[in-house]
Point group: C2
Amino acid sequence: MIRDGLAGSAGPHVFVDSLDAMVVDEHDLAHLSKSLRMRDGDPLTASDGKGAWRHGRFDSSGIIEPEGTVQRVEAREEQLTVAFSLVKGNKPELVIQKLTEIGIDRIVVLAAERSIVKWDHTKVERNHERWKRIIREAAMQSHRVRLPELTAVVPALEWLAQPGVAGAHFGAPEIGVASRSVAIGPEGGWAPSEVGAIVESVSLGDTVLRAETAAIAAGVLLCAAARGARFDGR
Amino acid sequence: MIRDGLAGSAGPHVFVDSLDAMVVDEHDLAHLSKSLRMRDGDPLTASDGKGAWRHGRFDSSGIIEPEGTVQRVEAREEQLTVAFSLVKGNKPELVIQKLTEIGIDRIVVLAAERSIVKWDHTKVERNHERWKRIIREAAMQSHRVRLPELTAVVPALEWLAQPGVAGAHFGAPEIGVASRSVAIGPEGGWAPSEVGAIVESVSLGDTVLRAETAAIAAGVLLCAAARGARFDGR
């Protein structure tokens, strides 16, 4: 089992560019000193977002005093990926935040045929930056040492054709112990061309889930499967 | 396996008081005719929220024309229950909506020692009504034939002492195939007295989850366990 989360470690968790000279950026410093009311000398953990981390002591200057050596958490052999479809008016932020907390390695935002949303390049870029910020904040909150990768926005038809990607589909077999990558359609479901592109299908349970709920459920089940859960016990 | 969800059935799903004389209330009628743009004769399913349901045809008068006989979905032998702690500023609505979609049978809102929120009787009642409305809407959306029970607000100390209730705790064994009831502490964790009251502990994974995410993850894993998933495969 690989633990990408420093739960139980003392104090809050921050991301820094370098673990040799640990400098907290302005935004995070305000968070630590104001919201969390940290005092000089309070313990925390810092990570480079790439699997390495280190204990340290808070200092109001923003320069973290290191404690002990740099430690590394190995990456999963196979990334856990959840792809979900952008829909007008939905809240991709919620899904991105939750998938980060849950422990997913790669988050993919899809433009499905029934996604409705048609974004130009500028809008994609602006949202990409915002989503990366959400990932960073959620990863701090959940003490992750590896920031999930964000891939946005990819045509669903292209994504579904990739090997190993399972399309979520009601009534299909449940997520299996070998499942690593699930794609969730938009509220209106996959279009016929997309259904045609799906090689493998998985089900997420017995109820009809909103697209955002399906994405979160897929994340929970994929992580459980990677921890060794078996869903084939019916 | 018990399916409390009419996925794949034709048309939207509504709740009615009686399946003999199926009358859609004003609010739902507006939703069906305006948002979903249903026309006279369009198919739908109606349920009494207690396990019985029936096919029917929409009519703009609000009186559904029945089709076929009343069908019943048996209740689970043991209810699946998720209890979560109220915290100031959090969004119990999101948790209640998601647990309903996912298929949980009973939703319990706890007042934990670190919940901070102290609600008077009027506020509890007002929220109770609002939460029941959220449950009803989510159950329509997810085509459930059984409305989850709502219990709110119960002192955590009292709830945790009940047999069969497992307190979520990082590092504990994973939700097991026999798990039916999980309680989630507030963001600040259980207070020592509450920890003392916990008989059984379960873990929800390897990352640090926000309280709301933990409640949703518990719902997903409990439903998977009830479908026969095994989480002890490490």
